[in-house]
């Protein structure tokens, strides 16, 4: 099933012994406990774990949205740790794409304008051929002049996917992209994401708590209590569910462990 061979050399994003600590003293919460992970280029990676396991924190730090307490983050060869806001903004313009649970489209802009927004903010032009490909892939050609309020949830999320894809970023980070969608729209979005990995070699990192969604990924990383506890390659929904059950049991056994997330 796997079409891309993953090697240590083709890494799109990398966390090296990352710690994330909130607060201090009594109120101290450790969200990430020395996490090291390499996310291979051209792969669809899902990060899973129970609430408070630190999965969102891990993704936010990888995307350069959140700082780390200790350790290093790399996107490609670029070291994010210690970058200024301006440099991080530049990085987000060129190397990172986002898909949010809430779609987060600008209601004042049409679908087309929303898709092109990251490029126009950066003052770049879209590659026309790639743009056409993206539009066709998400199947929004007849909806381009519509405003977000005139689109269904699934359509809005596909616009958001197109927005992330059109600038051909090194990595796309998707935060629960199907969390606000019904199962059919969710499946549409997920297969679309998987296709962009398979066909165009796009790297995607997705946070989800839905085993079904995770089954679309090439690799699933499981987090619990701020540590990577397990991973699966080419998973099926059932296999993911089994792993999760195991994790839930762990969490329950450590019921008063500090929560984070």
């Amino acid at each position: 099933m796997t079409t891309t061979v993953t090697t240590g050399q083709a890494v799109a994003a990398r966390a090296v012994d990352v710690w994330k600590v909130y607060g201090s003293g009594e109120a101290q919460v450790i969200a990430l406990h020395g996490v090291s992970v390499e996310l291979e280029r051209g792969q669809f990676t899902a990060i899973m774990g129970p609430s408070g396991s630190g999965k969102s924190t891990l993704m936010h730090t990888l995307a350069g949205l959140d700082s780390v307490t200790r350790g290093e983050i790399f996107i490609g060869d670029t070291r994010l740790t210690g970058m200024s806001d301006g440099d991080l903004t530049n990085l987000r313009r060129t190397k990172v794409g986002f898909i949010f649970q809430q779609f987060n489209l600008l209601p004042t802009l049409t679908a087309e304008e929303n898709i092109l927004l990251p490029l126009s903010i950066a003052g770049r032009k879209a590659d026309p051929k790639w743009y056409e490909t993206v539009i066709d892939t998400v199947g929004l050609r007849d909806r381009l002049k519509h405003r977000p309020s005139q689109l269904s949830g699934g359509q809005q999320q596909r616009v958001a996917c197109a927005r992330a894809l059109v600038s051909r970023p090194e990595v796309i980070f998707a935060d629960e992209p199907t969390g606000n969608l019904d199962s059919r729209s969710g499946a549409e979005v997920l297969s679309f994401l998987r296709n962009s990995v398979r066909e165009y070699g796009q790297t995607i990192v997705m946070v989800t708590h839905d085993p079904n969604a995770a089954s679309y990924a090439d690799r699933v990383i499981f987090l619990a209590d701020g540590r990577i506890v397990d991973e699966l390659r080419s998973p099926s929904a059932d296999a993911v569910l089994d792993k999760l059950k195991g994790l839930d049991a762990r969490v329950e056994s450590a019921a008063d462990a500090p929560r984070a997330g």
Binding site: A63, G97, N104, L106, T108, L109, R163
Partner: protein, 849 residues
């Protein structure tokens, strides 16, 4: 429920501060002006009760034109010294002292200029030290050229005992006197109210101040023990008959302070007018804030409704919030206003060298401030409260998507109100007698409200057009779209700016039209090249000394010289101004008058002339007679002998010089117009006239161009004062812009987070918010400019028949300045919201619900 209201109120501190600030600024004007006038009123009361504290009864001759209530004290009627002896013999009189004390003694300072005093330049007779006055240096005046001056004058002009001082007295030309003594009033006061006082020996005072021998203008009477002031007054009244004014000290002090209070009333109206404008703008801001609060709290309100809160409870919760803001805002507004009023009063009293009566706590100011502040806030909150009550419980379950309501209703309402406003305005301007002012005012108000209601509809195309300017950048495009996102909110925010700008533009348009009209009329109607006159600094006009006029006439550069004087008279029972030329033919020549009816080449005693327009207004024809009572007391019947064309400078009733010399308080020429001979350069002629006037410290000569310039300059100064006050109203509307943007930024937190996440720089975020702010401000300004220029032009056109000018001059310079100002103000108003937007933590912003 109350608890929930209070908590939600406190949770939004910034919003609370901004809407409270609007109330504070609006109330400030009202309380400030009330405190100011109250303090000044009491200060003047003190002054007058001091002045008259040692007078039981005062007697003066009754003047035909003097009218204490209108503040006209020009007309002073002398009474013979024999009257003093008559009064002494009246029952109950212990002593009677005749004295001279009138305005019009102009002291020339060491710099050669007249010592200015807004409170009066008094000249009088020295009648010895008494309870009220005492010498603090030197001695009494004994020789005709010796004087006593008050310590205020001595300090102001740095005069010492033994100094020589030049004085132009009311009835005499410039002459040199010697300071024999310096006096103070009881309580070590240098002056009563900042006035300058020169006291001559009695005969000199009679001659130079009243122009006659053995006359006084007042007699102070002290009663015998056991005789009440009222009894004494009645006795004297009965004995002297109706030709005399007899008043007790108390009555005099009351009458004088009432006259001042009458003037202060106008002062009050002026500030209250600005207060009203500020309130109007404040209403917009408060209304807007509450609407935003309600729409932001839609889910919270729906939840309350779902849990069983009734509509009335919801309305009440919004109104309670308004009440609290109203109370707090009124309190601070009152306090700030009181501070400003006190500051104004102390500035005034120190300028006028008066002793301030101290800051009072006028009940009227407290009541008005709180009533206005609370009422305005509550009224502004009624509509948002009703809107809040209409929130359906189901809204709690839905994502509170801001649905765009159709603008049809509001647009129709706006159209109707605007039409009504314009209707009232044209009715008022067409002339509706006593109701004119009310109609015009109401019309302007309605038009402004109507246009504000139309603003959401207008905002779509106009904002798009304005925003197109900024569309070259992505943040510009985003900012522009954001500003047209919620037309109602944008419109009401811009509406507040519009009201301020419209009123400023309207006033600027009227002023600049007036200013141009005056310039043009002087150009057109005045043949004179040079005008000789002085700035009037007291109730005595600066005059050209007769010798000087003859010298000017004799100058080789002068072709025609016409001198004019004027005075207040009773004309057929009403107060009116009449004027006279020393030479009617010369006057007609410089004013380009031509004969319309009768003869206009000369005027003899008992004759008068007028212009076409005045004749038409008063239905005069050649042969009409009028009865004129002059300031000096005599009454004459005058016959109309000629009618000239109307001009802008020389309209009214023109009488003969003979009658003027006999009846006017100040028959000397007040203004002279000089036509320069052909071939003589105007500057040369001006220099020659200046040479003649070098010893006259009061009057100066100006060329026609300088006259136009200086009269226009006065308009500019007045305009600047009005603008400064109106800018405070604009300040309130800027608060509105800040408020709206701040709330927009909060509302769009998640959107801002997303934009930052996909690569919008901090600087770009900044420009996006700033451009939204600038677009809203510009929209309000453009709307205000159009409405204001329209209202101004309508007023000017309507006034054509009243004041004789009708050409509308738009104040282009000011209008461009307002637009530039709007851009700057918009950028500044966007500052706080932009900082907030820029500082947003991207991660929190995305997760923001």
């Amino acid at each position: 429920m109350l608890r929930a209201t209070l908590k939600s109120l406190l949770a939004r501190k910034l919003r609370l501060i901004l809407s409270t600030l609007a109330v504070v600024l609006s109330v400030m004007f009202v309380s400030g002006s009330l405190v100011l006038t109250d303090t000044l009123g009491r200060t003047f009361d003190n002054v007058f009760s001091n002045i008259y504290s040692f007078t039981d009864v005062q007697v003066s001759a009754k003047s035909a034109t003097a009218d204490a209530a209108s503040g006209n004290s020009q007309a002073i009627l002398p009474m013979p010294a024999a009257d003093v002896d008559r009064i002494k013999k009246i029952d109950g009189v212990k002593s009677a002292t005749g004295s001279v004390f009138v305005t019009g003694a102009r002291v020339i300072g060491k710099n050669g200029k007249v010592v200015i005093s807004q409170s009066g330049q008094f000249g009088g007779s020295w009648t010895g030290e008494d309870e009220l006055t005492k010498l603090i240096a030197g001695r009494e005046p004994s020789a005709p050229d010796e004087i006593v001056i008050n310590n205020g004058l001595a300090k102001q002009a740095k005069f010492n005992v033994g100094d020589s001082v030049d004085i132009i007295a009311r009835a005499e030309a410039r002459k040199t006197y010697k300071v024999a003594g310096i006096m103070q009033y009881t309580g070590n006061r240098d002056s009563m109210a900042g006035e300058t006082t020169v006291l001559f020996t009695v005969p000199v005072a009679q001659q130079v101040m009243l122009g006659e021998k053995d006359v006084f203008n007042v007699v102070d009477v002290r009663g015998q023990p056991g005789v009440s002031d009222d009894q004494l007054r009645d006795n004297i009244k009965a004995a002297l008959g109706p030709d005399y004014t007899v008043q007790t000290g108390e009555e005099l002090s009351k009458a004088s302070s009432e006259a001042i209070r009458g003037l202060l009333k106008y002062f009050n109206y002026f500030f209250l007018g600005f207060g009203t404008i500020a309130l109007l703008v404040g209403v917009f801001l408060i209304l807007n804030t509450f609407s935003i609060i309600v729409s932001q709290r839609t889910q919270e309100l729906a939840l309350l409704r779902a849990m069983g809160a009734s509509r009335w409870q919801i309305i009440r919760s919004v109104l309670i919030e308004a009440l609290l803001i109203g109370i707090v805002g009124s309190l601070f507004g009152f306090l700030v206003g009181m501070g400003l009023g006190a500051l104004g009063a102390s500035a005034f009293t120190s300028l006028a060298s008066m002793e301030s009566a101290g800051l009072g706590l006028p009940v009227a100011a407290i009541v008005t401030s709180f009533a206005i502040g609370i009422l305005v806030t509550m009224i502004s909150a009624v509509l948002p409260a009703i809107k809040a009550a209409r929130v359906a419980p189901i809204a709690a379950m839905r994502d509170a998507a801001a649905t765009d309501k159709p603008l049809t209703g509001i647009t129709i309402a706006g159209g109707v109100v605007t039409a009504a406003g314009i209707g009232f305005l044209s009715w008022g301007l067409a002339g509706a007698g006593d109701a004119t002012l009310l109609l015009v005012f109401g019309g302007v108000l309605l038009t402004l409200v109507g246009v504000a209601l139309l603003a959401p509809m207008i905002s779509r195309p106009l904002v798009a057009g304005l925003g197109a300017v900024f569309s070259w950048s992505v943040p510009g495009r985003l900012g522009r779209r954001n500003s047209s996102r919620n037309p109602r909110r944008t419109a009401i925010t811009a509406g507040a700016v519009m009201v301020g700008i419209a009123i400023i533009t309207m006033i600027s348009t009227i002023f600049s039209s007036l200013s141009t009209a005056i310039g043009e009329s002087v150009e057109k109607d005045l043949q004179a090249d040079l005008i000789v006159y002085g700035q009037q600094t007291s109730d005595v006009p600066p005059v050209i000394q007769p010798g000087e006029l003859e010298q000017i006439k004799a100058l080789p550069q002068a072709q025609t010289v016409a001198a004019v004087t004027y005075d207040m008279v009773q004309l057929d029972g009403k107060q009116d101004f009449v004027f006279a030329y020393d030479d009617v033919a010369a006057g007609a020549a410089v004013l380009k008058l031509r004969t319309v009816a009768g003869r206009t080449d000369r005027l003899d005693s008992g004759e008068f002339m007028t212009d076409e327009k005045t004749a038409k207004d008063r239905k005069y024809t050649v042969g009409t007679t009028i009865k004129v009572t002059f300031a000096k007391g005599q009454t004459k019947t005058l016959t109309l002998v000629g009618i000239t064309n109307s001009t802008t400078n020389g309209n009214g009733i023109l009488i003969s010089n003979t009658d003027a010399q006999a009846g006017f308080q100040f028959p000397q020429p007040i203004q002279a117009m000089v036509k320069v001979k052909d071939g003589v350069a105007v500057p040369d002629a001006k220099a020659a006239v200046e040479g003649v006037l070098k010893d006259n410290p009061e009057v100066s000569v100006q060329t026609k161009e300088e006259l136009v310039g200086s009269s226009q300059q006065q308009f500019d100064v007045a305009l600047v004062i009005v603008q400064v006050l109106l800018f405070i109203a604009l300040g309130i509307s800027v608060l509105g812009v800040i408020n709206t943007l701040l709330l927009s930024v909060i509302e769009r937190t998640r959107e801002l987070g997303m934009l930052r996440a996909i690569g919008l720089r901090r600087r770009q975020t900044w420009s996006m918010v700033t451009i939204e702010s600038v677009v809203i401000t510009l929209f309000g300004t453009v709307l205000g400019l159009v409405v204001g220029a329209g209202l101004g032009a309508a007023t000017v056109t309507a006034l054509k028949s009243v004041i004789g000018f009708g050409a509308v001059t738009l104040p282009w310079g000011y209008m461009v300045a307002y637009i530039i100002g709007a851009v700057i103000v918009g950028a500044v108003a966007g500052l706080i919201p932009a900082v907030r937007a820029v500082r947003l933590n991207v991660l929190n912003a995305i997760a923001y619900e």
